[in-house]
Amino acid sequence: MLRNRLLGNVFTKTVRDWLLWTVIAIAALWGISALYIGIMGSTGDLYIDMIADMPEGLANIYGTNDGTPEGLAMSGIFFVMGPLVLLTYVIGLGSSAAVGEEEAGTLPILLSSPLRRREILVAKTVVALIGAVAITAATWLGVVVSAGLFGMDLSDQAVLSASIQLLGMVLVFGALSLGISAWRGSSGLGIGVAAGLAVLSYFVTTLLPVVEELADVAKLTPWYLFSGADSLNRGVDVVMLAVAVAIAAALFGGGLYTLERRDLKG
């Protein structure tokens, strides 16, 4: 029976536990993609005019805006709603991977089994990573299918590039949530810091370039690893992607290191 087979180890049990969240995230992004593409395809000109009248900083919040319905739809998907859904997913599950069992009180029973702490953390992180990749792939698919349905002319390659670049950026925040949670044994702290930094870096990256002297500061935020790449127009920026993955890996490593060296709670 599949239900029991998924209770075979920490990895499969975590897949079982988190599958619903992954499906919800994919469904949300499909819905958002269809909505954006459908609306922008039919009434995009209204929004283009509206955004054109906005101050530059405010308009930047909507991401890249090349004055086309296609550009506006992509901005909405990849600069606003896509990151929101993906960040919620990776920040939440990153923290849960680190301290979910500890805070739920199930860790003493789980660790009565011959498991290393790192085995649990790695298994759960891999599931979260697979989930994030699946959501990214599903986002690409959802956008491409929606574009086909609503007759919007989008480059599959550009959508794929943006999806991959976005994934790299959100992994930084997911790993930050994981690292802090693992270090301090607190999901609240991990989620709070990661989510707060995500929001802050979003606004810093979008608003600071308006002030010429501060434009370079915007490049120091994790968000710039996505927005600065301009992957919708230029394809995947491999260097920025590599930097994002390296930062995420370092944060994960830090979380793993501290988790193995602190007293467990409960």
């Binding site: 209770l7 009180g105 003493p108 029973i109 789980l110 009565s112 007293d263």
Partner: protein, 305 residues
């Protein structure tokens, strides 16, 4: 295998754990023997759970060493846990899974389960494993936790406050299960704040108070050490002074023809003194073990630091 053949199931030397300024455990020297039920007694907050969590490497000792089944807990935690069953005092099961699914998962992590044995344990403890854990009462959740600890037939079973939430009948069943483990040559480390629970099954007890191990004794030896009371009825009034200086006598109270004597250890000297008079009746009261433990708990025991 890194175990040492014939090594004690649990051995600690100078095991100390501080949480900031709080000294949860201080210089614990303890040795548990193979095939015994060792009762680890102490009031809440005495350091019992900290000891267990140190042994399982959930927390890192501030100083000292500990071995379990001959293996250093600092370097062999996983190997140790593969051979030790553990029931924590505070834990949660997975609420969305049934009792059976919880046990299946935990058994899979150990390499499998003896389903027939699990079923028999469930029948003994009268728990329905087909129900979701979130629908179970506290007592029934505790039973699932107990099955988890017993189902692996590990050579060392560590139970931390295992009877919490169990009714008296189930407590008796649990005690029977603990005895069966011992009869099977395996070892049980039973942590509890309940004297009654430990007294019924333990061969030896260690009493912990404020992080200090104040005594380790066999239960029967501890009883012998207890201060008991004896009522001696004579055919005429006898003065209390008659018993002063008698070996083991702690206090004397004369009430008419009756003398009530509190004493410790052997009663022989007391009876010899009494037999110098015409004894009409003797009423010996059972050692008040509860009082011994309270004495140790409160620092009145002879070995208390």
């Amino acid at each position: 295998m890194t175990t040492t053949e014939g090594a004690p199931p649990i051995k600690t030397e100078g095991l100390t754990k501080h949480y900031g300024d709080v000294k949860a455990l201080v210089d614990l020297d303890l040795e548990v023997n193979t095939g015994e039920v060792f009762g680890f007694l102490g009031p809440n907050g005495a350091g019992k759970t900290t000891t267990i969590r140190s042994l399982l490497h959930f927390v890192f000792p501030t100083s000292g060493t500990a071995t379990v089944l001959g293996m250093d807990v600092a370097t062999n935690a996983v190997e140790i846990r593969s051979r030790v069953a553990y029931m924590p005092s505070e834990y949660s099961l997975y609420p969305k899974l049934t009792g059976a699914e919880n046990l299946t998962y935990l058994a899979n992590l150990r390499g499998g389960m003896d389903k027939a044995y699990v079923t028999s344990l469930a029948e003994r403890l009268e728990v329905d494993l087909t129900r979701k854990v979130s629908d179970l009462s506290t007592g029934n959740k505790q039973k699932v936790g107990l099955i988890q600890a017993f189902m692996s037939k590990s050579e060392l079973v560590v139970l931390d406050e295992p009877s919490t939430g169990l009714d008296p009948l189930m407590q008796q069943e649990l005690q029977a299960m603990i005895r069966e483990v011992r009869d099977d040559g395996r070892t049980v480390f039973l942590s509890s704040h309940s004297l009654a629970e430990v007294e019924r099954v333990a061969d030896r007890v260690g009493i912990l108070r404020s992080g200090h191990l104040v005594v380790v004794e066999r239960v029967d030896a501890l009883k012998r050490k207890a201060i008991r009371r004896i009522d001696l009825e004579f055919d005429e009034p006898v003065e209390a002074a008659v018993f002063e200086g008698t070996d083991g006598v702690r206090s004397i109270e004369a009430r008419g023809n009756t003398v009530v004597v509190s004493f410790e250890g052997s009663v022989t000297a007391l009876l010899r003194t009494a037999l110098d008079h015409n004894v009409v009746n003797v009423n010996s009261r059972e050692a008040d073990l509860e009082q011994i433990f309270l004495d140790y708990y409160h620092g009145n025991g002879n070995d208390a630091p």
